[in-house]
Symmetry: C2
Subunit: 153 residues, 2 copies
C-alpha cells in the first residue's frame, strides 16, 4: 500500500484563516489535527490540538506549570479568548519543523517514520513528482495507517 491509496479527503485551513474558526473546525469534526496550507494549497504544517493549547497557555505557565493554579476557575474557563483576532499562522511553532508531507508513492514505512519522528497524528499526501509545489491529494492519520498495517487476528 502506498500513500496515495491510504490518503483520504481531509479539511484544510489557510495560514491566514481565523484561529478561533480553525479550533472550531477541529472540535466539530473531532479531528486529530489540522492540515495548514499556503495560498497555493500546498501543505506547510500540521497543527495538532495540543499546539493550539500551547498558544493559549501563557508562556510563564508553560515554563512553570504550577502557576496554572493561580488562575481562578472562571478565569481559566476563558483560556481560549486568547485566540480572538489571531490567525492560524500565529499558532504554528516558532521553530520550523520537518513538513509532515509525503509523496503519493511513499510506503507505509516512510509514512510511519515521518509520523513517529514528528510525533504527528497526521501527514498530508501530495502528488509524486508534482514539482516544487505539488498539489495535495489528501491526508492520512495514525489511526488510518495502523488500521491498514496491523496484521489480521
Amino acid at each position: 500500500m502506498l500513500a496515495r491509496e491510504l490518503a483520504r479527503t481531509f479539511p484544510t485551513i489557510d495560514l491566514d484563516d481565523d484561529a478561533l474558526e480553525a479550533a472550531r473546525l477541529l472540535v466539530e469534526r473531532r479531528l486529530p489535527g489540522l492540515i495548514v496550507v499556503d495560498s497555493a494549497h500546498h501543505p506547510v504544517a500540521v497543527l495538532p490540538g495540543s499546539q493550539i493549547l500551547r498558544f493559549v497557555v501563557p508562556r510563564y505557565v508553560q515554563d512553570d506549570p504550577a502557576l496554572a493554579h493561580v488562575y481562578a476557575e472562571r478565569q481559566a474557563d476563558r483560556l481560549c479568548d486568547r485566540l480572538h483576532g489571531h490567525r492560524v499562522r500565529d499558532l504554528l511553532p516558532e521553530r520550523p519543523q520537518r513538513p509532515p508531507v509525503v509523496e503519493g508513492d511513499a510506503t507505509a514505512m516512510e509514512i510511519a517514520a515521518l509520523m513517529a519522528g514528528e510525533h504527528s497524528p497526521l501527514v498530508a499526501v501530495v502528488e509524486s513528482k508534482g514539482g516544487p509545489n505539488p498539489p495535495m491529494i489528501g491526508a492520512i492519520s495514525v489511526v488510518d495507517l495502523l488500521e491498514r498495517a496491523l496484521p489480521p487476528r
Copy 2:
C-alpha cells in the same frame, strides 16, 4: 469547569497487555491515544498512536528517515509485525515523562498547560486527595477541552 466535570469514561490498557491488542483498541475506537494503567489501575502514561509507530519503525530509520525508502512496499506493509510478542510497557518511551494526570479539581488552565507541555492528546483524571495512588475517574481529550473552552460564536 473542573477536570472531574470534563472527564469521561475512557478505555484503559495495562502495562502488561499485549501490544498488538492495544494497537487494535486504538484503531477500533479511533482513539487519540491510550491511557496506560498499572496493576492498581493508576494511570502511568498516555500512549499516542505516533508512539506506537516509534516502536515499529527501526531505530536506524528514525535516525535517518531516508532509509525508510530501502524497504520494498510489501515489506513496509508488514511494519506492525514487530508488535508481536511485545507488551504495552515495551512501547513506552525510555525516558520517563511527566505523568499526563490531573486531579479532579484541576482547572481548564491546568489541564491545557499539561496537554501543551507534553504535546499530549489526552490526560487522565484522578480523584483529588486520593492518596499516593488515587483512583482514575476518566480522561479528557484535547478536543473535549476545546469543545468546552471555546467562546460561543
